[in-house]
Symmetry: none
Subunit: 543 residues, 2 copies
């Protein structure tokens, strides 16, 4: 254990643990994720800059995209990372030298070749349908063939933990076949994700003890919710290489999140993976890869999520200021993230001041009556507003208190019409909404009508059209999320409705909130805040 | 270790591990989650049915909603669970007997009281700003005071692991103060989420050894990605109670996911928490609570996510058929989940038959093609419908397959108009919605107009008025809940919208669901189902 868990740099005595990223191969097995060739190459570039040691690119034999990947990646000028091609041992009953899959692995030119082979006796007999002896031959001969071709060879021991529990001697014999043939690393795979950390630690320790001069790696899945802990347990037991994927994407519940493991190892287990300077890129690497995968980093993700260092509750917020280690297990800056105070029903002055500063407003310096701002927020929260995910609306509220707010436009009226007609017997799928807004900008009066499938889309379209001439910046803004919540559900459809909207202009992203008994009016309020705050941010940037 | 990890029922020799749910207290600290009083009571009901031992309800002293919660929950007829009120030790420099917070905890009537107290020397001095000795008095006197009032007392030892690492003797002395005062359980809290499983195991083991006759619990957070593993490590070291929240919701990156821990303990560590029969409710409990929190169970969540047993890749899919244990660490049925991509309570024939029977339909006896019903449900779920909380819509769907369905009325058309007008400078609070519906009942044509604050209320009013003459039973029906959910948020306001409605007639309560790109149309569909199913239930009762 590091004596100060909040320090960012591993000591000079740190053990070197190698990182092996499988985002482009096992990660792409994740339901809903497809990466283009350009995406894969961009991820390689970013992981190389970050300091990952091995990047598994895919199956060179499996499809044209992967063939093209290995051709293009060979031409990249990487600083540090080595590219691995992934495949299997040779087929049963045939020589490794004649195996087309192994030939493809060699031909693709990747300096590292990783081959998976079976180590669970029941799998050999039931899935592979061959003898235990033949499987040992396949492992040994395949590794030896790749070594003879000059490759760095990783042997992925599939189902190793189930195999060890079922037939320890046979599982060890499989590892032995790879070791004897010269495998550079034997990576023990917890394939079905079922093992728990204490089992992983015992089995890795026994395996390392049986082959004391061999380098071992670990590959886990999160089916029991323990992938990170299992990986750390293997390192404690002697593994020196960790496999995983960025953000833990992968089949079923996903693979080990390699970024969380790197942070845990560097900040808490005296190990060195990418180094403390690179570690500050952790959050941006998570976001970059998520963006290319077309997903978000989950808000509550360890280390890299937007809520990972967010604090709610007046007690905690003031306590953090006095003693950060009590509520932040590591310094957020060490992993490139930031502390964030969430304004809530429970907030105190200290957290409001910190939050305002976050948004660029120095309330203390401006001489604002902070208690009056807090009272305003509390009154609005009591009425149903929430500012936790609505930085934009909070910013506008603060601007009002600071005397900085001037409305970009004022409403004269709006009208929304939703029409539906039964044409067929089933309800027609073509209900259409139309909205007309009448607004004023300075001396000008603008009337515009928008149409959309839904009423809020129609209002959004009409409002943008009405203000576009005065504020061409709105063309760059778009709504990316729209959420509706009924607050006092005992009132049924007359309940207070809260709408939250997230918008982006490609530079900033902000949330706003609207509240009303009427879902359309609540949406309108959130829409207006969204455009007003977007225009304010654009002004700040001089646009 | 259980010899067959895929079996669903713990053996008779299993250790009893108690479950303590903090969803309503620590879970509600999660950014973006707010639960109404009705939500909290519904969660209590569901967790009680599931077999949770202790349910922490909130801070009775903190706000009117929690005061009302403890009043209402006391009147509920729970099968198994005990309700816990949460608070702190008495204040420094004042007697426990005079502490208003402790008085509120006793006055709220909850049979279990959990109080948090400090155990990290630095926290006592820096945050509490008192002496180590005074903190010991506060712990001991507070526990003794609550015991004297006849409560089951849980002492939450805040920052215990950091405290133990910093000053082992003092941390143990804090535990000793609670033990000596008669605490029923001392729950060791890994407050900042920074510890790793091997540390947790060592520290819990040392603490249990120091107080061999005391019951201990464990409370973890997931900041290092190890909350589940830390909790399991504590159980291995002797803790007999596990704290957590449903789906792991909570501040920052969240608390221990109690459901994952329960599955790991029952299926992999020979422990008994809720029992194997209840364990099959795991997935539906996760979904039910998520629905009330207005979030989704993450697709890749262990055990309960929709992808937890989904398989991609031809190799794996065929291998699963031959040898399921190789790719599924537990049987999905053991946790109420299903293999492949569909995740509905109704995924299998048996569960559909059981669910139908629940609703009063005997599909087998009626000779219905159950596979055709399942296919229909799957197709509708793929389009965005969900039947988890929509028994009414499911009942109508079954009636269609049984040939029992005849529409109570048919739509000719509807039109909804929402008008708003800026009167004052702030947006006026008087936006009004008006809806006109034209419907047919038998040979009759009825046109009615309704008004309400919101468009759905207006539609509801108009539709009721239009059918009241034909169906006077609707007068007894009212909507009690109305929820809106955007399904594909990347589409912004044009996303598919799912509306769920809960209605009651004072005898039955039922849910219905509607889906459309247009929130008004989705609401209409759910409203129509709601009234139709209500009329059907009334007919069944001979009304």
């Amino acid at each position: 254990m590091a004596s100060d868990q909040r320090s960012g740099e591993a000591p000079m005595t740190a053990t070197r643990i190698y990182t092996y990223d499988s985002t482009l191969r096992d990660g792409e097995q994740c339901e809903g994720i497809t990466l283009s060739l350009a995406d894969k190459l961009a991820i390689v570039r970013r992981l190389d800059e970050f300091g990952i040691d091995y990047i598994e690119g895919g199956f060179p034999a499996s499809n044209p995209k992967d063939v093209a990947f290995f051709r293009e990646v060979a031409a990249m000028d990487l600083k540090h990372a080595q590219i691995a091609a992934f495949g299997s041992t040779c087929k049963k009953g045939a020589a490794a030298a004649d195996d087309p899959g192994l030939a493809d692995l060699i031909a693709c030119g990747a300096p590292v070749v990783t081959i998976v082979g079976k180590t669970w006796d029941a799998q050999v007999e039931r899935a592979l349908q061959t003898t235990l002896e033949e499987n040992l031959r396949m492992i040994g001969e395949s590794v030896a063939h790749l070594k003879a071709a000059g490759r760095h060879v990783v042997f992925d021991a599939e189902h190793y933990f189930d195999g060890f529990k079922a037939n320890r001697d046979y599982a060890l014999a499989c590892v032995g076949a790879a070791v004897d043939a010269g495998a550079d690393s034997v990576d023990l795979c917890e394939t079905n994700g079922g093992a728990l950390p204490f089992e992983v630690e015992q089995i890795v320790a026994a395996t390392v003890a049986a082959f004391p001069n061999q380098a071992f790696g670990i590959h886990c899945h999160n089916d029991s919710g323990c992938a990170v802990a299992n990986t750390l347990a293997a390192v404690r037991a002697g593994a020196t290489s960790v496999q995983g994927t960025v953000n833990g994407i992968g089949e079923r519940v996903g693979n080990t999140d390699l970024l969380t493991v790197i942070a845990d190892l560097e900040l808490k287990m005296d190990a060195r993976c990418v180094g403390g300077h690179s570690l500050t890129q952790l959050t941006s690497v998570a976001q970059y890869v998520a963006e290319l995968c077309n997903v978000s980093v989950p808000a509550h993700h360890p280390y890299t999520g937007s809520s990972a260092f967010a604090h709610k509750g007046g007690l905690h917020a003031s306590a953090i200021a006095r003693f950060p280690a009590a509520y932040e297990h590591v310094s957020p800056a060490a992993v490139g993230n930031a502390s964030r105070t969430v304004v809530s029903e429970l907030a105190g002055k200290a957290s409001l001041l910190a939050k305002a500063k976050n948004l660029g407003f120095d309330l203390a310096a401006a001489g604002v009556d902070v208690q009056a701002v807090l009272d305003d927020i509390k009154a609005r929260e009591a009425a149903g507003f929430t500012y936790e995910v609505a930085d934009g609306s909070l910013g506008l509220l603060l601007m009002r208190h600071l005397g900085l707010y001037a409305p970009a436009f004022t409403l004269e009226s709006f009208r929304v019409i939703v029409d539906d007609r039964e044409d067929t017997g089933a309800l027609a799928k073509d209900a259409l909404s139309e909205a007309t807004v009448k607004i004023h900008v300075g001396e000008g009066r603008f009337v515009a009508t928008g149409e959309s499938a839904g009423p809020v889309g129609a209002l959004d379209a009409a409002l943008r059209m009405a203000i576009l001439e005065s504020y061409p910046q709105v063309a760059a803004m778009e709504l990316t999320d729209y959420k509706v919540r009924l607050l006092d559900e005992s009132q049924g459809t007359d309940a207070i409705t809260r709408v939250t909207i997230t918008a982006t202009d490609g530079v900033d992203t902000w949330g706003t909130v609207g509240v009303s008994e009427n879902v359309i009016e609540a949406s309108w309020n959130a829409l207006v805040d969204s455009l007003e705050y977007g225009l304010f941010r654009a002004r700040l940037r001089g646009e």
